[in-house]
Symmetry: D2
Subunit: 119 residues, 4 copies
């Protein structure tokens, strides 16, 4: 089990111990998040779309992807924390809403271009 | 406690029940992640940097931010899942490496421009 | 001929006439740019990779793509302007460097995974 | 004068001469654009918002910013080109629409939180 709140608190402690809270205003943290999403994109950009899953099973791509995915998660947790938003609660609420909004028997086999899935 | 693996499995079930796996190749999921990060950015872009935390305590901004943060998390979980990468393990490894790489007594009060914090 | 400096000046005039310079600090403009890149991503995210060019020839996708591409360009011009950087000069320098760095007869048919094309 | 169509054609020639068209499908190019926007974000993320313009006047930040801004522009031109969209025309149309949609005497001194400037 990965406890999201435990990770959040560990990031908070990491930040406080280094006196880095001053840099962690929300707009700066969004830019940091964008930076990590950019690194993730660069790993995949020129790979053939239908081979990415296979290629990602081999090193060094596998480890590199793990690092960038982790960076995105850690900055996201930090951002929610400074905004006083409980990310776990927000995610459960969003899942519930999407499950209700897109009844499986109505959207199955429906082209997803007509709507924004999950949002 | 928010169990990250439980959320991941719920997203997987949500996708399978709607027969949407066909859309969830890694490059498409990164684009979806970018879309949600963009919506998050739009909520904050014109706010004065030093007032964001205060403004985010009031509705409707608070709920809107929660939704976008949730969307980013849910697509991130989905992306790691299709890449067969355990996001929780990756995050713990990354935290450990950052804690070792940036000893608190050496980087405290050091301008963060000289290095990339956490990466 | 599209004169990049003319577009830049028109954006500057547009901003000044509305007294919006106060919102256009560089970090806010990057967030605005990210927002537009996110909207562009959302238009393409669920389309089959090999059909995008065809689908983009029909309305309403064609016009929507034009708008988002334009938004990215206009914010990019505004950002370079407030940073006092001549975007046209920077682009010509970058092209020249890439042309020298990647000699056509050496990189042709070379898998682009080994390097970052153009950068 | 920076002729946008000339830059576009130079990027096209650069790509063709290296036989790299195969990598330049629209979704891959958006990911490449996201990668460059991410690098731009990383340059600014921890800088105090009110000092960025000053700091960007000195090297090496100035040259680094110029490179990333150029990369964003060049990928944007390439993306519009493969989508058969005339970026210059799209930008002029968008400017015209924004000028009409936001009359200067109506939006001046109006908090921009109530609307999305320029979009």
């Amino acid at each position: 089990v990965t406890d999201l709140e435990e990770l959040r608190d560990r990031m908070q402690r990491f930040t406080t111990e280094r006196d880095w809270e001053r840099f962690h205003d929300p707009k700066s943290l969004v830019l940091a998040l964008v930076g990590e999403v950019g690194e993730l994109s660069e790993l995949l950009q020129w790979l053939p779309a239908d081979q990415v899953v296979d290629l990602a099973n081999s090193e060094p791509l596998r480890s590199r992807l793990g690092e960038e995915l982790a960076d995105v998660l850690l900055y996201l947790l930090r951002l929610a924390d400074v905004l006083n938003i409980h990310l776990g609660d927000a995610a459960r609420q969003k899942m519930l809403r999407s499950e209700e909004r897109f009844p499986a028997d109505q959207v199955r086999s429906v082209a997803p271009l007509k709507f924004e899935p999950y949002t």
